[in-house]
């Protein structure tokens, strides 16, 4: 038999999942927080997540948000646990590096909000590269 029997391109189905109301809300809020174009974030998610994780995205995101409140304030603002464990956008190693850099920035005397913004910028760069 010629042609692929099983490895069908699933992007259309994955896109159908991502466009439902709650998924759309989650993608929009992540895109807004990290300042990534929504289309690029959706594309990235379709490329990297399996369908089950995509389906479960809203529940994980809400759960991650709740867990975020228990973390130390700076990490919570960057979304250290949210973007590695709940919605695995970047790896743990990358997040460690970003955390260290943000802490260094704060030590240098940058205001905390600025440092967090810089941290989010770094997350964005990791995702978009």
């Amino acid at each position: 038999m010629t042609g692929y029997l099983y490895e069908k391109d699933l992007s259309a189905m994955k896109y159908a999942i991502l466009t439902s109301t709650r998924h759309d809300r989650v993608v929009r809020s992540i895109a807004e927080e990290l300042n990534i174009p929504q289309i690029k974030l959706r594309k990235w998610m379709i490329d990297h997540f399996d369908m089950m994780l995509l389906e479960n995205l809203p529940a994980r995101y809400d759960q991650g948000r709740m867990a975020r409140e228990t973390n130390p304030p700076l990490e919570k603002k960057i979304g250290a646990a949210l973007y590695t464990r709940a919605v695995p956008l970047i790896s743990d190693g990358e997040m460690e590096r970003i955390k260290k850099e943000v802490y260094a920035l704060v030590k240098e005397g940058r205001p905390e909000n600025d440092a967090v913004l810089a941290g989010r910028e770094m997350i964005r760069d990791v995702i978009l590269q």
């Binding site: 038999m1 029997l5 069908k8 259309a12 189905m13 159908a16």
Partner: protein, 151 residues
């Protein structure tokens, strides 16, 4: 009729292997097919054996309204079933799409567009007894004197 043919008829009438495939239903018909297995209906007393292997099946029960995931897969599955074979549509979904056949839905009913359907059991969902009687009444029509009819 040759001796061989009568032996084949005898064997086929007491051994019907059934596979079921869900091509996008609500699950209700699925569990009614499973309920046929239960000791109350006891599908195996008629020599019907339900398992999910298309390669040794005689009858394919198609459940559901045909979703895009099954394009190219359902037909391949149908081809894998050895002759003689027949497909039965269980429930309203494969017949008409039931209430999923509305604007903006993703389904593409009826299933008879995609594979040949020999019998239909309407209902949402049909009772296990109806499924059972459909299989039992279709089987002799398809399998009896199959080689003679083919010629």
């Amino acid at each position: 009729m040759s001796l061989l043919q009568s032996v084949k008829n005898l064997v086929r009438s007491h051994s019907i292997h059934v596979a079921y495939v869900d091509v996008g239903s609500c699950n209700g018909c699925d569990i009614e097919v499973l309920a046929c297995l239960s000791p109350r209906y006891d599908i195996e007393q008629y020599g019907i054996y339900v398992h999910n292997n298309p390669r040794e099946a005689d009858i394919l029960l198609v459940i559901g309204a045909y979703t895009p995931g099954w394009e190219e897969k359902l037909h391949t599955l149908w081809e894998k079933i050895p002759d003689p074979k027949a497909a039965i549509a269980i429930g309203n979904c494969p017949i008409s799409g039931c209430l999923f056949n509305r604007p903006h839905s993703l389904v593409d009913p009826p299933v008879s567009k995609h594979i040949p359907i020999a019998a239909e059991v309407p209902g949402c969902p049909p009772r296990p007894t109806e499924i059972l009687s459909a299989v039992l009444s279709l089987a002799p029509l398809v399998f009896k004197d199959y080689e003679v009819a083919k010629r």
